[in-house]
Symmetry: C2
């Protein structure tokens, strides 16, 4: 049994392993495509929810408007969502293209580009969500020790919509984290047991 | 040339590839050990800097004390740093042990545990730093639109020490990100070109 599994490479894969590899690859690629479409949609929803949010309040006959630009971190979150959406769109097109061509990813430079992009987007997206969530918590609960008042009892509808935007962005970043695992798998298995020489053939 | 590089596995590695692999493995392991020691030190420094920070001010004969527990996110950051330190200590011991034994990581379950731990710590650490940095920015610059005043002109020494703690934690999370790349490499190359069957032998 041991000699069935060893000594194979893309150049001389026996039929049963080739089909095994293909099945795994197909599944991974379908999961990847679904995740990227999901991220594309949710990133747009998150950006729109936050970017279009505003609420006007009249306090002692003074008109006050809450906009998302009042909090710089929400601008950062909208930008991060926009980047995630644009990046996902490109990746979705690449996935569809490679599915139509039926090619498997055995190209190290491309795998490195995808891996780096996914990692960057995952960390960027998570950082934006964490920072926004922190501002959201202060807005909701206040920070009495520092005399930062809660503002959400004043702008309830505004706050809820921001919360939905942050929740949507959180799913985007979790999806990006899953994708960065998939692209790490796709990249580093090219550095398999033949010492990184799989492209020599 | 093409048939030199293909068809090898841990079971039948030719001498020149074996030594090649060993050199790469040795370097990766040394980099890993250095990074983990660095993270261990900086995580402790970050936790101590933030956890021991306090400043007393007398304003209109009222004594006011700023403590890190006034900001809940800093408690989260201290906990995250503590976890990073404890985790790194265990990993340093594992690295040293595997270096003494001279074993190479060809154990999939262990590689999965290390990979998952590194990923978790990297994302946790980054989220804590991002949220704390957001609170730090508000403390430093204020958020006039929401009437959140800057507090750092009042508690200058306190704020600076928090800033140093956050900077130290940022290096910890960057180190963790690098390590999670290394452990992804160590794990997924076990799923090399022989379709995940490298453990069958």
């Amino acid at each position: 049994m041991s000699y069935l599994g060893i000594g194979v490479s893309p150049g001389n894969v026996p039929v049963h392993h080739g089909s095994n590899l293909k099945v795994i690859d197909k599944r991974v690629r379908i999961i990847e495509l679904i995740l990227r479409c999901l991220i594309l949609g949710l990133a747009i929803i998150g950006a729109v929810l936050i970017g279009t949010d505003s609420q006007v309040k009249v306090i002692f006959s003074i008109k006050k408007e809450a906009k998302f630009t009042d909090m710089k971190v929400l601008v950062f979150l909208v930008i991060a969502n926009g980047l995630a959406a644009a990046y996902s769109l490109i990746q979705v097109l690449r996935c569809i293209f490679s599915m139509i061509r039926g090619s498997v990813l055995f190209n190290k430079p491309l795998a490195w580009v995808i891996f780096s992009g996914d990692q960057l987007m995952a960390y960027l997206s998570l950082a934006a969500v964490a920072a926004s969530a922190q501002s959201g918590v202060i807005s909701k609960l206040g920070q009495p020790e520092l005399q930062w008042m809660k503002v959400c009892n004043l702008y309830g509808k505004f706050c809820n919509q921001i919360g939905e935007g942050i929740a949507s962005s959180l799913i985007v970043s979790l999806g990006m984290i899953a994708l960065s695992g998939i692209s790490a798998f796709s990249l580093f298995r090219l550095y398999g047991n033949n010492g990184g020489k799989s492209n020599a053939g």
